[in-house]
Structures are given as C-alpha cells and as structure tokens.
C-alpha cells in the first residue's frame, strides 16, 4: 500500500485551475521530485500536502488516513522552505529545538537530539549562532536540521537549494541524498532543476501547467519521455518527423533515408525522438550536413542540418577523428535508443 497518496487532487484560485487531476502514490522511504517550469503548480501541491492550502477537489492520504482532515500543526511533516523561514531571533540550536519543545520533549533529551541533528548536517559547534550571522548554506542546513529533528513522517523540500551557488548546491545535493538514505525519511523535493531531480530522486514527477506529464524513474523519464514536453524539459533531444510505411512487409518506420522496423501500435505520421548522445555517424541513415562543430573537452557537439530538420549530435572525445564542419554525414541510431510518439513534431 502506498505510504502517501494523492488522489485526483485539484486546486483552484478563483477561476484559475493551478493544479488539476494530480494522482501520485509515494512509497515509504521513497525520494520523489516534483519537476517542472516556474508556475506549474509545484509549490501549490506541496503546500496542500503540508496543509497550508486546502485542495479544491481530491484526497490526500497518509498511511490510508485522510490528511486533509488534520490541522497542519498536527500533521507532523518536516518542511524546508525556499527562503528557509528560520526564526531570526533564535539561535541555531533554539531553532532546531522549537519543534521538540512543541512536542513537550523533556529538556535533556531535547538538547541531545538538537546536538545530534546539527551534527548530522555538519553544523556541530554552531549551536549559538543566530541565522543572520550564517551563510546561505549554513542557514539551509539549520532549516534541514529543524525539519528532520522532529522525525517527520514525510519531509517536504521546496527548492531548498535554489539560493545556493553551483558548487555548494552540488555538495548539498550529495549530502541531502546521503542523509535521506541514512534515516530513510520519505521525501518530496520541489525543483525546476532537472539535474537536481535526476541525481537525487528515486522517481520524478514531471509537471506542466498543473498537470502530471509523467511519473517515472530518472532513467525512464530521460530515456522514454511520455510527451514532447518531457523530452524537451529533461535535457536536449532531437525530434524527427517520420512515417510508418505499410507498403513493405513487415511495415517500416521511415525518417528521410533512415528506416527501421516499425514498432507496433502506430500508423500515419509519428515523431521519432532521439537524444543527441545516442546518434552516431555511420555509412547509412539520415543524410545531414555539419553546420558547426564545437569542442567541449570531454565531448564534441555537432549542429547539423538534416533531411528532417536541424539535429544535434554529441560524440565522446574518445580519440577518434571527428567529421569536420561542412562535411556530409549519415546519422544513425539503434531503434532501442529512440522513443516514438504519434503525431508530427510540435
């Protein structure tokens, strides 16, 4: 049975529907990311789980119990806000202790748990520091410790790393993942950074305009995007217009001068979607001319003009000679490296 369950949840502000038909089952201990562009309803969904907003429709259940009937103060969830929302008039230790105080944890045990929580996020020795005297990364850790020390049933993180610089963000990603693995708290992370979602999550929920586009593991969403939106949003991709040719038997999937056995269940115009790093230069395949060739250290980036429109190709810098600008090449890929959708490319 799912640990946390969202069942056709919807949220409207006036006439505007911000989240619609959102269904998700989260397993215990799972790390889930909500990924989507700005304004797609990620925070709104998270706030409905937290209880700061009431869903217009649908149900949210935790271990089978209706969560919406429970007051936010009694839900026992740990939340890290984008702005951290630390209490500026309290020291780091007092911030972390606040949730335990509210739970009437005895003083001695409280002190011990606060110390352990701060040590876990690497802030041992910072107990008496006030938030305004801490760096962004340190404040972020205090916020995490404050959320984790109450042993929350679910940890909700709203873009906790977006205020940090790139290097610190990477460090914190690794640390966050390690902490989550160690204590096994069910976690939902909101982000609009696809790398963050991919490197941290067990499963990603890709959202667009208040709706779920796809739920899947990072590999699934990257390799088998369910929609054009997902494939565009998760890294670069090439969309080629193709058709199913039923004159030959068995039927073939044809894009320009490239073809492969047709997958079942398609007819008429289709879109073939291939990641740039899965395309190789071969003797047969899609005819293309290399427009620009960019050296990027460990790989080469080629921008090509193909029979089916522009294409990007990434090749590892493995010491082989690479085609030069202006050269005509043939683009080829294995059928298992592409995904096929009905309809022409957008």
């Amino acid at each position: 049975m799912a640990y946390l369950e969202l069942d056709r949840v919807a949220k409207q502000f006036g006439a505007q529907t911000v989240v619609d038909d959102f269904s998700l089952a989260v397993g215990k201990g799972e790390f889930i990311s909500f990924l989507g562009p700005s304004g797609c309803g990620k925070t709104t969904t998270l706030q409905m789980i937290a209880g700061f907003l009431d869903p217009t429709r649908g149900a949210i259940r935790l271990e089978g119990k209706d969560l919406t009937a429970i007051h936010p103060a009694k839900r026992g969830l740990g939340i890290v806000f984008q702005s951290y929302a630390l209490f500026p008039h309290m020291s780091a230790a007092e911030n972390v202790a606040f949730g335990l105080e509210m739970r009437n944890v005895p003083r001695a045990e409280r002190a011990e748990r606060v110390r352990a929580a701060l040590a876990m996020v690497g802030l041992a020795g910072y107990e008496d520091r006030h938030p305004r005297r801490m760096s962004g990364g340190q404040q972020q850790r205090v916020a995490l410790a404050r959320a984790l020390v109450i042993k929350p049933s679910v940890l909700l993180l709203d873009e906790p790393l977006s205020n940090l610089d790139a290097k610190l963000r990477e460090d914190m990603q690794i640390e966050l993942r390690q902490i989550q693995r160690t204590i096994g708290t069910t976690t939902i992370l909101v982000t609009h950074d696809q790398n963050e979602a991919m490197s941290l999550s067990d499963r990603i929920v890709v959202m667009s305009q208040g709706r779920i586009e796809q739920i899947g593991t990072p590999e699934e969403t990257y390799e088998r995007p369910a929609s054009a939106f997902v494939s565009q949003f998760l890294g670069k991709t090439n969309d080629f217009a193709a058709t199913i040719d039923r004159t030959s038997a068995p039927a073939r999937l044809v894009a320009g001068s490239w073809s492969a056995p047709a997958p079942a269940g398609f007819s008429g115009p289709v879109t073939v979607s291939v990641r740039p790093e899965r395309i190789g230069f071969g003797d047969a395949g899609l005819a293309a001319k290399i427009v620009t060739r960019i050296f990027q250290g460990n790989h080469w980036l080629f921008q090509c003009e193909s029979e089916c429109g522009p294409a990007i190709v990434i090749r590892q810098n493995d010491g082989q000679t690479q085609p030069a600008e202006g050269e005509t090449v043939r683009l080829a890929w294995r059928p298992e490296d592409m995904s096929v959708r009905a309809g022409a490319p957008a």
Binding site: A50, F52, P72, A73, K74, R75, G76, L77, G78, I79, F81, Q82, S83, Y84, A85, L86, F87, P88, H89, F98, G99, M102, R103, H130, R132, R133, R146, A147, I150
Partner: protein, 299 residues
Amino acid sequence: MTAVADTAPQSAARERGPRTPWALTAPALLLFVGVLLIPLAMTVMLSFHDWGQYKGIEPVFILKNWHEIATDPYYAEMFWRTFRIAILTTLLTAVLGAPEAYILNRMSGRWKSFFLLVILGPLLISVVARTLGWALLFGGNNGLVNKLLMSLGVIRAPIPFMFTETGMVVALAHVMMPFMVLSVWAALQRLDPQIENAAMSLGAGPVTIIRRIIMPQIMPGVLSGAIIVFSLSASAFATPAIIGGRRLKVAATLAYDEFLNTLNWPLGAAVATLLLVALILIVVGSNALIERRYAEVFR
C-alpha cells in the same frame, strides 16, 4: 595588494576634495543652525535670566528659575503628570496599535489598502480638529455621547473627560496611533512570509506563534514606535491645551502660559529646556537599550 585596496578610497576622496561634503551640506547645515541651534541656545541662555513683574527681563546670569523649578513641588507634580500621561498614552497605543498592525497585515489586497487609509487618514486632519472632535463627543453636558447616554438613562452625570488625565490620554492615543501602527507595520514587512507556516508545521498553535515567533520579531518596531509616541506625547501642545485647558497643565502648556500669559519668558524657557533635556536623555537611553537587547533582530 592590500596597499592598493587601502589607498584607493583615499585617492578618490582626494580627487573630490576634502571640502566637497561640507560644501554640499552647507545650505541644509546653515538652515539647521539658523532656525534650530541658535534659537535653542538662546532659549537655554534665557532660562538663566532674571524676570520681574515690573522690570521685565534682565539679561543677568542667575539660577533663580532653576531653583524655583527644583524646589516648588508644583513643577515636580506637573512634570510627573506630563510623563505619566506620555507613558500611559504610549502603553495604550502599543496595546491597541500592535494588534491593529498585525491584523491589517493579514488582510488581503483591497481591504488592506482601505484600512491602511483609514488608519493613516487622520494624519491629514489637523490635531486641533481631531481633539475638538473628542470635546464635541464628551464635552460636559453638551457632549453628543454624554447627552445620548444621559437621555437613555445609562448614566446620570456626564462622563468626566474634559480636564481629566484620562481624557488627555485617550485623545493623545488617538492622535498618536498612526505612528505606532506604521512603526509596527514596517517591522511586520520584514518578516519572512512563510515564518508562521514554518512554526505551524513544527506544531505551534496560533497563540504560541504570536507569542514566540511574531512578538519577539516585531518588538523592535513596537519599541521604536513607543519612543516616537512617547516623545511626541510628552511634548504635545494642542491636545493637552484643548482637553486640559489651564486647569490641567503639562510641561508644554505651562511653558506656553509662562511665555504668553505671565510673560515670564525666563521661567518658561527653563521649563522648556528641562523638558527637552529630559526627553533627550530618555529617548537616547532607551534607544541604546533597545538596540543592544535586539541586536539580532535588527541586523
């Protein structure tokens, strides 16, 4: 490297010339000296001059006025009343104004701007007009409220308001309220919008949130509002003059009377100077205390 960084600002200052800041602030400085410092110095000097019913002001240096203020219990009582009224007014504005600002801050869009206007609107009306309003409502047998309540039989005699300290405190609190609300409002604006949600998610109820999270953070705003209200109330003239008249004097109305009715300018100057010095000491002292106490919130 450090040497370069150290000299850079200096050379920049040298280019602009050391006199530039003085030249730029000179007009304002002259005005400040001309209309504030010189009259102030003259007032202080005046307080050491002699005065007699028939001889008028004599420019000598004596401590007569100061001696009179220090020994005559009338002045002690009057100053004590002035500060008592100012303290009570400050308390009243804080107790009413802080929640008012908090509620205002929680209102949504349109209502917020409407009620902000309601609260700040009185600032556009003269203090005299606002205080006279109270006099019209509660002024003796003819006061509107008094008349109504007496005709309804709720009260026998009119509610004492005019010429009472209570009346003065109420009217002053009404006049000073916008300063307190604005000051607390400014402190509320600096709160993280999610701070209440954060406390709630940790299990805090509404009372705990206000007591443990909101209050400590807006306290500096309440206190700086209190300093403004206190100093304005202690030196207020119009409201005490209308409500208290010549029966219930405070420092400002007394100084006025000495200047314009008794024509004893030196004594009036001594009262005014003492009021100013006491206010400066109180305001500077409490400001220092507040800043030390709330260093973390102020940063």
